[in-house]
């Protein structure tokens, strides 16, 4: 589905250099159209933003007069607040449109809402929507606004994947060749999907682990058929957690949504925790300095034990800080690009 959408948006070809630098990138919808060089550019700009976050007075005038509007059709605390914090530190003005889940309507009115934001002179719209592809629809129809996808259905969450990559790079250097285990409900995880693109592009070795009912087998097979489109990394599935964790450099734990049990995909949360929870004993199978990541909010005692969640190897808090820096970098790169030439 995402490829059809990409074709329909007239997307620049994937892997063709620094779209940001050449002013060709107007939106951040997923990581599948990023080149490795462009990814490196985002990560190194994030280093500079981390420095700003560490200052006594953390404020720069860079985006003065720019408007960032956040539109969340799904509940979120950290992602929305993270974008708001990032925009404010760079002196942009922020408007948060709170949309009740009950008022989610069909595509037409979504577009109308966003057309209004464009008419209100938003420069960037940050959108989260329960339907995959919603940000692509907007990107296709809005003429002046940059769209950042803050999560669309089970499809993509590119800023989360970028902050995960950044956090890994900060601790272990390039993820090239690193064994990264993505553990849990991979099928319903937009975080996992965007991370597959990002980690693949950076050359990591990704192992998907979870109950067979929660593994998107078709995705792995699809990637297998198009090896040139995913960078130099590779992906495999291992449903036995002990084998998946053996020698891992990074363990990315996904949030288990309680609804999955009701949908009959899991016998019980207790059963899930017994078979797939990341606890101290299992983490010991990974490399001694393996990192533990979680996109939050954590269900402690379900997908992750409290000891691991707050243990020495957990970088969950750093992920939150890095998330602000990543979003500052993206806003900076999108809003300081060359004027569009089309």
């Amino acid at each position: 589905m995402q490829l059809e959408q990409a074709a329909a948006t007239g997307w620049p070809e994937q892997g063709k250099g620094l779209a940001f630098q050449e002013g060709r990138r107007r939106h951040v919808l997923d990581l599948d159209d990023f080149s490795r060089a462009e990814m490196e550019m985002v990560l190194s700009t994030t280093d500079a933003m981390r420095e700003v976050l560490g200052r006594e007075i953390k404020k720069a005038p860079t985006l003065r007069g720019k408007s960032v509007m956040t539109v969340f059709y799904e509940p979120s605390t950290r992602t929305r607040v993270s974008f708001e914090q990032a925009a404010k530190i760079l002196s942009a003005d922020v408007v948060n449109l709170s949309v009740q889940a009950s008022s989610v309507t069909k595509g037409e009115s979504l577009l109308d809402t966003l057309r209004t934001l464009e008419a209100l002179r938003a420069d960037v719209v940050v959108i989260r929507h329960p339907h995959a592809g919603a940000p692509y629809l907007l990107a296709r129809h809005l003429q002046r606004v940059s769209v950042i996808n803050a999560g669309d259905g089970a499809h993509a969450h590119p800023t989360q994947a970028l902050l995960d990559l950044y956090t890994i790079r900060q601790h272990q250097g390039s993820p090239e060749g690193a064994k990264v285990v993505i553990l849990g409900d991979v099928t319903h995880s937009r975080v996992a999907r965007s991370n597959l693109w990002g980690l693949g592009l950076m050359g990591a070795h990704v192992v998907l682990c979870g109950p067979p009912t929660l593994i998107p087998w078709e995705l792995v097979e699809e990637r297998g058929r198009r090896p040139d489109s995913i960078g130099t990394g590779h992906v495999e599935v291992e449903t036995r957690i002990e084998r998946a964790l053996d020698g891992a450099d990074v363990v990315m734990v996904l949030r288990l949504q309680h609804e999955r049990q009701e949908a009959g995909l899991l016998p019980s949360l207790r059963e899930y925790a017994r078979l797939y929870q990341l606890n101290e004993e299992r983490l010991a199978l990974a490399k001694p300095k393996a990192l533990v990541l979680h996109p939050g909010p954590m269900n402690e005692g379900v997908e992750i034990s409290p000891g691991v969640a707050h243990g020495a190897q957990s970088v969950v808090q750093e992920q939150v800080t890095n998330g602000v820096a990543i979003r500052m970098a993206l806003l900076y790169l999108l809003l300081t690009r060359h004027p569009r030439r089309e």
């Binding site: 940001f20 630098q21 050449e22 002013g23 550019m41 190194s44 700009t45 280093d47 500079a48 933003m49 981390r50 420095e51 700003v52 200052r55 007075i57 404020k59 720069a60 005038p61 860079t62 760079l90 970098a329 900076y332 790169l333 999108l334 809003l335 300081t336 690009r337 060359h338 004027p339």
Partner: protein
């Protein structure tokens, strides 16, 4: 593209030696001195000035690095470019800061740098050292220490290359806008 050498490796070495002496003379000395280089080529120039000062007076002047990307006034004209981390660990309160850059042209980078600098503290004095002053100022800014004054036409470009960044020490005048 036709280019003319305006400073050789030797010229650059001598100019930096002289500028270091001038910085010490005007202090006087290196008390409270902090050298802050502007990314990219101002940073190695600041380090070299600090080395000269160490050689002449055995005083270590702290060196910082500043990226002005966050403070530019020409974001609309500039291509989105990666930022490099600003590193200023020295306390700037009451310090005598010498900003260091390779080429002084419109003065807009220096204005941006001064904005950036004050976010880190309130220096007692801010001065400016540049390897080449090519004229054509658009703001009321002048350099305190200049390696070489080079009269230029607006359609020319001054390109400074340094060992640490480009593998070679030289300053050249290039005809036409450089890509």
């Amino acid at each position: 593209m036709p280019q003319k050498t305006i400073m050789t490796e030797e010229d650059i070495r001598r100019a930096l030696n002289r500028m270091a002496h001038e910085i010490l003379e005007r202090g006087p000395g290196a008390h409270g001195l902090v050298l802050v280089g502007l990314h990219t080529r101002g940073v190695p120039l600041a380090q070299r000035l600090a080395e000269c000062i160490w050689t002449f007076e055995q005083v270590k002047a702290p060196v910082g690095a500043l990226d002005i990307g966050l403070y530019r006034d020409d974001l609309r004209e500039e291509r989105g470019s990666p930022l490099r981390p600003t590193e200023i660990s020295a306390d700037l309160h009451g310090a005598r800061v010498v900003l260091v850059d390779d080429v002084l042209f419109t003065g807009r980078s220096i204005r941006a740098a001064m904005d950036g600098l004050v976010d880190f503290g309130r220096p007692r004095q801010v001065q400016l050292a540049v390897l080449v002053d090519r004229g054509h100022r658009e703001l009321p800014i002048r350099a305190d220490y200049v390696g070489k004054n080079v009269p230029t036409a607006l359609d020319e470009t001054v390109r400074v290359r340094l060992r640490e960044v480009d593998g070679v020490d030289e300053a050249v005048l290039v005809q036409g806008e450089e890509a």
